[in-house]
């Protein structure tokens, strides 16, 4: 247990060792991931920040290497490793859905040195949800508002302070540095238990066994009639994919400028016309309906077939910000009904 001031003090102390980030409101009241300085507390209003946590692990862009692009110089076209960050990063105020997305993305990126290095150098301090928002559905997809998957420490916010639970060893060792920590009292333990019990039931709609999708016939889902109507509304923007914590598709490009060059890996979106465009000019997902279908089939069918869980954590960002109200919850229901 840490009182508010103690929690801030703990963050202040850690700021020597880490760069600390957390959700913070900007002048347009948009909550995004920003640097927190001097023991500043993260924004703890209910709901997830606008952008997802993937930016810490799968940055937009990731510089893979740099090079000199002037011919006839000693180091011409010799590759250099990009400059490394000075300090590891610590992210506070991470909702359990976001933390879980890191584990899910880690499956396809299992052998990716960049992603895995970022995982090693980013500590996640979670914040348990007391209540779900109207767009939340983490329990549908195998998560929990008080889940610990992917986290190093889970924090419960109580009236007068925070109860911190270590999840990993590195979380445990950081907690030991909290000088003003004391054991939680019986009442506080009970309060935490109450959050544990109540949070999942606060989610607005009943749970759907979305995991059953994996057993369904792929072609039946693929040829389902509702895709056309769904894609009628879609404008093929990248809002859903760019805000989504579990969308991890990328493209790679060399940028050269005035004799300098770098190879970057940046976010791609299955909504964009260049996605899966072949050199021949052919695109197997050339039409809107195919792109829309790919997004959902990837998350709900192809990914689970390959890795097990759904590639969706139920954070509800796409539901919240889709300009034309394409709702993955409805897509799940439609697919289950096929």
């Amino acid at each position: 247990m840490l009182p508010r001031a103690g929690f801030q003090q703990w963050l202040q102390e850690l700021s020597g060792q880490f760069e600390i980030f957390g959700p913070k409101k900007n002048e347009k009241a948009i909550v995004s991931w920003q640097r927190l300085e001097g023991g500043e507390l993260p924004d703890m209003a209910p709901g997830v920040p606008k952008g997802s946590i993937k930016t810490f692990f799968f940055p937009q862009p990731e510089t893979l290497f740099e090079f000199t692009a002037r011919p006839k110089q000693d180091d011409s076209f010799r590759l250099r490793e990009p400059e490394k960050r000075q300090k590891p990063r610590l992210v506070v105020g991470v909702r359990p859905c976001d933390a879980r997305s890191v584990l899910l993305n880690s499956m396809p990126y299992k052998e990716d040195p960049y992603f895995q290095q970022n995982r090693q150098n980013v500590i996640l301090v979670g914040l348990a949800c007391r209540n779900g928002c109207s767009t939340c559905f983490c329990t549908w997809t195998g998560g929990s508002p008080v889940g610990t998957e992917g986290l190093d420490i889970l924090v419960f916010e109580l009236e007068d302070g925070f109860v911190l639970e270590p999840v990993t060893e590195r979380g445990e060792s950081l907690l030991q540095k909290a000088s003003s920590a004391r054991d939680a009292t019986e009442a506080e333990r009970q309060a935490v238990q109450e959050i544990r019990d109540n949070a999942p039931t606060s989610l607005p709609e009943a749970m759907e066994p979305a995991s059953q999708l994996v057993q369904k016939d792929l072609m039946a889902l693929y040829n389902a009639p509702f895709w056309q109507q769904l894609s009628d509304s879609c404008i093929n923007c990248g809002t859903c994919t760019f805000l989504c914590p579990t969308c991890y598709c990328f493209d790679i490009q060399d940028e050269t400028l005035r004799g300098k060059g770098r190879r970057i890996r940046y976010w791609d979106s299955c909504m964009f016309p260049l996605f899966t465009l072949h050199a021949s000019g052919h695109n197997p997902r050339g039409e809107k309906v195919k792109r829309v279908r790919n997004r959902f089939m990837h998350k709900l069918k192809y990914f689970p077939e390959r890795f097990g869980p759904l590639s969706c954590v139920g954070c509800g960002r796409c539901v919240r910000d889709c300009p034309v109200n394409i709702d993955i919850r409805q897509v799940m229901k439609e697919l289950l009904a096929v």
Binding site: Q60, C133, I264, P323, D327
Partner: protein, 347 residues
């Protein structure tokens, strides 16, 4: 008693149903209510039964003209790029249109993206659409679960609260500064035409920025677009953006970089807006679609202001009048041309 929107909805469904039943249109483009409050789902009704899902309220913010070129094409028999279009009349599409959307249809007709004969336009004079970001700001960004609309009020409810808001307070900036609420082309109307609005200060948002110094303007511009995630929702929500390959996807030469970089983002926004010069009707679709709350509409509004001032034309007011940047006059203003201004100095 039913509200204005309920009456419009009722009439709209009826008209759409008739059009679909009679076979006059193959599809009707409108809105259906969505799964979250304050976001409407653009919806293509393909059967008379579908027509009952159509809905009209203050949250119809995404410009429907956006869908027309592709939707019309979907009813054409497939053909190769160089094949001539098929002979004989092609299936029509019905669509609901307010002032700005109908003007975008005019632009699309002028630019040969849609054919007037293939549209059946049901006009509605706009009372202004609501900016959901403004609503959220008024209720301190709490979770909204339901919004009930009266004629001049919105009742916004969520867990543990219910608040009544004056509708006009949360109407979008572009609608507040709109002078042409009436559709300019239509085949049928719901309700009356309202006539032009008289708004001497309709460019005030632009004038505020113009009054700043160059340095301050740059600061304003960069901070406005600083949160851009390059999702291109603004571009894709825009009925003017139908290029088969957008300049952001060009690779030889590559005009803008692909990731988040302040310069690339700035150039994207400058060019996106500039490509709308003389064509934009200030429908606000871009701004409404933006997940990050960027007010990129001020950019296109500036272009609109200059085009009006320099050439006296507003986009989409008439099919006969050419688009301002596809025509010229021999005596167009040219005091910005260096050799001309130097001449002036010598005199």
């Amino acid at each position: 008693m039913s509200t204005m929107n309920e009456k419009i909805t009722e009439e709209l469904r009826q008209k759409a149903r008739q059009l679909l039943e009679s076979g006059r249109v193959a599809a009707f483009l409108g809105y259906a209510s969505g799964s979250v409050p304050m976001v409407m789902r653009p919806f293509v009704a393909r059967t008379p039964e579908d027509a009952d899902r159509l809905e009209w309220n203050s949250f119809c913010v995404l410009n429907l003209a956006n869908y027309l070129p592709a939707l019309l094409k979907s009813f054409e028999p497939p053909r190769r790029p160089n094949e001539p279009p098929p002979q004989g009349p092609l299936p029509k599409v019905g669509v609901v249109a307010t002032g700005c959307w109908s003007r975008n249809m005019v632009v699309q007709i002028q630019e040969n993206q849609v054919e007037r004969e293939r549209l059946v336009i049901i006009g509605i004079s706009s009372r202004g659409m609501v900016d959901r970001k403004k609503v959220q700001a008024l209720i301190a960004h709490r979770d909204v679960t339901a919004v009930k609309e009266g004629d001049n009020t919105l009742v916004v409810a969520g867990p543990g609260f219910e608040e009544e808001i004056n509708r006009w307070d949360v109407v979008r900036d572009n609608c507040k500064s709109c002078v042409h609420p009436d559709p300019v082309i239509f085949d049928d109307m719901i309700g009356e035409l309202k006539g032009e609005r008289d708004l001497p200060d309709r460019f005030s948002q632009v004038e505020e920025i113009e009054a700043l110094s160059a340095q301050e303007r740059w600061k304003w511009f960069t901070s406005e677009i600083q949160s851009c995630i390059r999702c291109y929702a603004c571009r894709n929500a825009c009925p003017l953006c139908y290029c088969p390959t957008c300049f952001v996807d060009d690779s030889r030469p590559q005009w803008v970089g692909k990731s988040i970089d302040s310069v690339d983002t700035a150039i994207f926004h400058i060019l996106r807006a500039y490509h709308c010069a003389g064509r934009c009707t200030d429908c606000g679709s871009c701004e409404s679609a933006c997940p990050m709350g960027i007010r990129m509409r001020i950019l296109t509004k500036k272009l609109q202001k200059d085009v009006l001032q320099l050439y006296g034309i507003e986009a989409g007011m008439s099919v006969q009048e050419p688009l301002p940047l596809t025509t010229y006059k021999k005596d167009d203003p040219q005091d910005f041309i260096l050799t001309e201004s130097l001449k002036g100095e010598k005199k």
